[in-house]
Symmetry: C2
Subunit: 173 residues, 2 copies
């Protein structure tokens, strides 16, 4: 276990949706909690058992995810007095992020023959295909076929930026 001191610069105001998403998600634990929620985990104790995370840290992460609107509290599905954490539409929207991380891990981080969990299409009972990005007219588009159209910096932002040290939030957007 390693302790890392991480200096976080807010990217909340970024004009780049990638940066803003990373800022909103917060840290890896949050994404692992979301992954577990996709897998059907709903209760504090079950998240704790699955992740092996300290209770205080899990409490904070779950509260943040509720505050961010990724999870919401619901009465226990079995009628007991427990409450459960359920993905909102915004939380479910992270499905492709989790799938893309899965694909990359499967492609690059396992030795030949090393086993890992698999994402199964419920109807066919077989592994799903791969994520695909297509153009408006249906061509599969890869990285080399794309470019990012950036926002022109607003005159106000440029003026405000000049006398200060740049922060990540004012950088590439």
């Amino acid at each position: 276990m390693e302790i890392a001191l991480v200096k976080r610069t807010s990217l909340k105001g970024a004009g780049c949706p990638v940066a803003r998403s990373l800022d909103a998600i917060g840290d890896w634990w949050s994404l692992l909690i979301i992954r577990d929620a996709f897998d059907g985990v709903r209760r504090f104790g079950a998240f704790q058992k699955s992740l092996g995370i300290a209770k205080g840290m899990l409490t904070t992460r779950l509260r943040d995810l509720v505050d961010l609107g990724l999870l919401e509290l619901a009465p226990a599905s079995d009628g007991t007095s427990y409450h459960e954490y359920v993905l909102t539409k915004k939380g479910r929207g992270l499905f492709h992020v989790v799938v893309a991380l899965r694909e990359w891990g499967e492609d690059h981080l396992y030795a030949p023959g090393e086993q890992h969990s698999e994402l199964i299409d419920k109807v066919a009972g077989r592994p799903v295909g791969r994520l695909e990005l297509r153009s408006g007219d249906g061509r599969v588009v890869g990285w080399a076929g794309t470019t990012v159209r950036k926002l022109a910096p607003s005159p106000a932002a440029s003026a405000a930026k000049r006398p200060r040290r740049k922060t990540a939030g004012s950088g590439k957007v």
Copy 2:
């Protein structure tokens, strides 16, 4: 700017490719560096200008990304003595992770009418479509249509786990 003390548990040995990917990527800065590399940034100074990250931290992150095989060093494309950082195949494999984060941010983190950068299909000069996940027989599959088939815990792993506190690496895989 906030300082967060983050306790990292290694997920390197996880049987879940999502966890293993998150462990390998390290932190958000690494993914923002990769995003910049996708956008054509190749030099230390250009990454620094784009990200507004401290030089020491950028040096560490770039070295880690080279060690992980996501970036490789190449001679400067203009023949000067600088060197450049170029995405490897493994690094380029993160394209869909970055695109998925972009889509989620576009969907959920911008106010109506608020502008953001866009991913453009070079051929058509228009925004790309959306990532799609399909089954083997071509149906579009969403979260509700999938389930994760987990690895059965190995007897050795279960025995080793019992007397200790669980770590994230030994949890849901």
